[in-house]
């Protein structure tokens, strides 16, 4: 029983990090119907930036979050202007191919810059843990989970309380309607893409602290993040949070009770089963796709 609860706690802590990483992906899909397969590669890029700041300046990953966030915002903006902008409104499979191509380029470039070996950031809280009754909470996991919750909260506030946030939500629910009331949907899209990517500033820092990473790990990350947003319902932020917790706990359970290699398969199985049985996910809404047009 104790070991089960321990597993669940670890799952929730991991799930919080997943939720943060997935929030940008689902936000981008919600507003512009683009499935950004480069999201995982962006996350790894953020982790490498954090790593570089740490190894050159000795900057603690948590302190580098603001810097990396700004950098990722810029990356998102530039990628949107150079590439994504040109395929808006084209067939979805084209946007998927485009972002997949971007992820491959990024993987290769990161390989040139940082090498294809495993990296990780070590801090004084890396191996520490907090004891809470009979349970052990790894300190690093605990800290990053708290940061994740804070950043998601901030994102939520931005979306709910600012004009830009309202514009983003408007464009997400009805693009032509938003156009009519004077929201410039194309600049909202650029902003969304940049904000979605900027959330990885914190996300990458977290990856660097709790997981070893290399350029090739973006595959595993994008698979996991896709599973999360597909499970929660593409485009739904609350859905992504629920999906992340489910996947986090699921992976931990699979590791403890089935075998260490099984978490790898969890995302693929989830994607498969969800898309076949309930394509709209847990909290997504089904679009009306009949002949009213």
């Amino acid at each position: 029983m104790i070991s089960l609860i321990q597993t669940l706690i670890l799952g929730v802590l991991v799930g919080a990090v997943y939720a943060l990483l997935a929030s940008g992906l689902t936000l981008i899909f919600g507003v512009m119907r683009v499935i950004n397969l480069a999201h995982g590669a962006f996350a790894i890029l953020a982790a490498f930036l954090t790593y570089t700041l740490w190894s050159w300046l000795g900057l603690d990953p948590l302190l580098s979050i603001p810097i990396v966030t700004v950098a990722m915002f810029a990356v998102g903006w530039v990628v949107y202007q150079l590439a994504i902008r040109h395929v808006r409104g084209r067939h979805v499979s084209m946007t998927v191919l485009l972002t997949f191509g971007i992820s491959l380029v990024l993987e290769g470039v990161m390989g040139f810059v940082w090498g294809n070996t495993s990296h990780s950031v070590r801090t004084d809280y890396t191996d520490a843990s907090v004891q809470l009754g009979p349970f052990f909470l790894p300190e690093a996991q605990l800290i990053v989970a708290i940061v994740a919750v804070v950043v998601i909260g901030l994102l939520y506030l931005v979306l709910q309380r600012t004009w830009a946030g309202r514009a983003i939500r408007a464009a997400s629910s009805n693009e032509s309607g938003a156009l009519l009331v004077g929201v410039s949907v194309s600049s909202v899209a650029a902003l969304t893409f940049a904000i979605g990517t900027a959330t990885l500033g914190a996300g990458g820092a977290m990856i660097s602290v709790i997981y070893p990473f290399l350029p090739g790990s973006h595959d595993q990350w994008i698979a996991r993040l896709l599973a999360i947003v597909v499970l929660g319902g593409l485009g739904s932020l609350p859905g992504a949070i629920v999906g992340a917790l489910v996947i986090g706990v699921g992976e931990m359970l699979a590791t403890s009770y089935i075998g260490a290699s099984w978490p790898v398969a969890v995302p693929f199985l989830v994607i498969f089963v969800v898309l076949v049985l309930r394509p709209q996910g847990l909290m997504g809404t089904r679009l009306r796709e009949d002949a009213v047009a």
């Binding site: 499935i35 485009l98 290769g108 698979a223 593409l234 693929f268 498969f272």
Partner: protein, 629 residues
């Protein structure tokens, strides 16, 4: 001399862009390429031979992928997995049967890959567009995972080593090469044949508009199942040869996502949906791949190369090399000429019955279509709410009502693009409300759409050939571009007066012309009941008149009509009886006379000044009391 002679300048242009000339140039190029390809192992360079063998493997896979991506429009990143499944099947069988040439297992490998692919095709029953691409990525990685974990069968991550070739050394690569050339020839033949049949036209219909394809009798799930199976069949066979050639298969080599990316790149670069495009693409990409491997030691260079190519292709040349060349030629040829779409319509053909003659029933006919207590909600909005009405056999029945009263939803429920929450729909006494759109089409319901939904990239003729009257393997194999089906389609085009446009792209027609073609398309189904959604909407008065004539003529030949229309003079002159819909239910029904005077109808739809307006415009409608003068 007839007519003013064109200036001399376009003359050489005309000759250079003559389609016949280009057909011969293409044939010559293909012939030369084929000869060079067959004899390539004469080349002294082993590395060049190696590149060509690998290019052949990718060309076969790309040609297969073209069937689902180019024809049916489903982008898949799992074609590499089928190559891998083929390779593994061959390797496992070869290991179990030492002493037998691994070539023997190629057909088995093909069948295994085809069966797995067909199962993946089942998945498309529920997911389209982006979800499907995601599924194919997950599928590839899942297969890789299985290959790693199922050690008993696959030897896990260590992979399987195959025996070395058992033929004399001086034969070199010839056996591999020739087997692959033969497989490529088969793939091209298969691809060519599919494109010429009704099956192929159906796949393209699915690509252009899957929802609409269902309403013209195309059983999309079965089509896709077949397409997926066929796309993997030769790929799996090529895979087993590929494994034998490499003499080693392992999970990270065979199920790498980059393998699938390379195949997708080949298809898109060469041109989706063209016969030779994928082959051309494969023969451009594979040398690049070999080059990246030698120069940069593979790895990162290859990633940047493939990723960069993918990005550039999507941004700069999304339609691929061959279609772009074709479009360029077409543009040069037609520069300065006037398109057909502005031409006047031909006269309505003297119509020797274009539909199978049916007995016209006695006057008080039994209903052909009966709708009972139909209901459909979208969220909280009850679009159709306890709606009941009948369409008598042999009638032209109208369904009228204000915007948002649920007319189009009723159409969608009857034609099967949606399923009702409650209620019954009977066609000739048979309950059809749970049937798929294509089964309803096969039972005799045809429909047109409010905004026409022709398959824009197909020619007019192909559009009219596409519908499937019933589902049988024989029907699927029928030729689409020649033979009885095409002749029948031409008759129908003549009937609606659109013969002159048979080879025009459907998307280039005017809106009204598209409505006529859509009607001809529906007629191929030989429907007992035709649902017309605003046949007179948005078209000019001459066309409205023609539309009315066509409907009357078809009705004389025994076809029953149900139409939704806002043009009241058109409805009143053509239809009897009329059903009036408001807030999702029928509030009144009867003949035109009766409806015009029904206070409920005047209140809900026509407005009480309708009759006065009607009088001043048509003069045909009798006056009544109660107008606001």
């Amino acid at each position: 001399m007839s007519g003013p002679a064109p200036a001399a300048a376009p003359d050489w242009r005309g000759r250079l862009t003559d389609p016949v000339l280009w057909r011969w140039i293409t044939r010559a190029l293909v012939l030369v390429a084929a000869v060079v390809l067959v004899l390539f192992p004469l080349s002294p360079s082993i590395s060049a031979q190696n590149t060509v063998i690998l290019a052949l493997v990718f060309a076969i896979s790309a040609s297969g992928l073209n069937i689902i991506t180019g024809y049916a429009g489903y982008l898949s990143l799992s074609q590499g997995a089928f190559l891998g499944i083929g390779a593994y099947t061959g390797a496992i069988l070869a290991r179990a049967n030492p002493g037998v040439s691994p070539f023997v297992w190629a057909p088995v490998a093909g069948v295994v890959a085809a069966v797995v692919a067909a199962l993946l095709g089942l998945v498309t029953y529920r997911s389209r567009g982006p979800s499907f691409v995601i599924i194919t990525i997950a599928f590839t990685l899942l297969v890789q995972f299985v290959a790693r974990q199922w050690t008993g069968l696959t030897n896990g991550s260590s992979g399987i080593t195959l025996p070395l070739p058992d033929w004399p050394r001086e034969w070199g690569n010839w056996p591999f090469h020739l087997v692959l050339v033969a497989l490529l020839a088969l793939s091209l033949l298969l691809s060519w044949w599919i494109r010429r049949t009704k099956f192929g036209t159906g796949l393209i219909a699915i690509r252009e508009d899957e929802g609409k394809a269902g309403t013209i009798g195309i059983n999309a799930p079965v089509y896709k199942l077949l397409a997926f199976g066929l796309s993997a069949l030769l790929t799996g066979m090529a895979g087993s040869v590929y494994g034998y050639y490499l003499t080693f298969v392992d999970p990270s080599g065979m199920f790498a996502i980059l393998l699938s990316v390379q195949i997708v790149l080949s298809v898109i670069l060469g041109g989706r949906g063209t016969l030779f495009g994928p082959v051309l693409g494969a023969f451009i990409i594979q040398p690049l791949n070999s080059w990246a491997n030698t120069i940069g030691g593979g790895g990162n260079v290859r990633l940047v190369l493939f990723g960069g190519l993918l990005v550039l292709l999507v941004l700069l040349l999304p339609s691929g090399i061959l279609p772009s060349l074709q479009a360029l030629l077409e543009r040069i040829r037609t520069r300065g000429t006037v398109g057909l779409s502005g031409a006047r319509l031909g006269a309505v053909g003297e119509s020797p019955a274009v539909t199978t003659p049916r007995e016209r029933p006695a006057v008080a006919a039994a209903p052909l279509l009966e709708v009972r207590g139909l209901a459909k909600s979208f969220g909280g909005n009850r679009a159709v709410d306890d709606c009941s009405f009948t369409v008598p056999e042999g009638s032209i029945t109208a369904l009228i009502g204000p915007n948002g009263s649920g007319k189009t939803t009723v159409f969608n429920l009857v034609s099967g693009t949606m399923t009702p929450d409650r209620g019954e729909i009977l066609l000739g006494g048979e309950a059809i409300e749970r049937l798929s759109p294509w089964s309803r089409a096969h039972r005799g319901i045809g429909r047109t759409f409010q905004i026409t939904r022709l398959f824009k990239e197909m020619t007019v003729l192909e559009n009219v050939v596409a519908p499937l009257r019933d589902f049988s393997p024989g029907q699927l194999g029928l030729g689409a571009v020649s033979g009885a089906e095409a002749r029948r389609a031409e008759e129908l085009l003549a009937f609606v007066g659109m013969s002159a446009y048979r080879d025009a792209r459907a998307g280039s027609l005017s809106y009204g012309q598209q409505k006529l073609v859509e009607l001809a398309q529906v007629l191929v189904l030989e429907p007992r009941l035709i649902l017309l959604d605003e046949p007179a909407g948005g078209i000019n008065p001459t066309l409205i008149e023609r539309m009315g004539e066509l409907i009357r003529e078809l009705n004389r030949q025994g076809t029953t009509f149900l139409l939704v229309e806002h043009n009241m003079p058109f409805v009143l002159g053509l239809c009897d009886p009329i059903r009036v819909l408001a807030r999702g239910a029928v509030i009144a029904e009867g003949g035109p006379e009766q409806i015009q005077h029904d206070p409920l109808v005047l209140d809900a739809y026509l407005g009480d000044d309708f009759l006065l307006e009607g009088e001043s415009k048509t003069g045909a409608v009798p006056t009544v009391k109660g107008g606001r003068a």
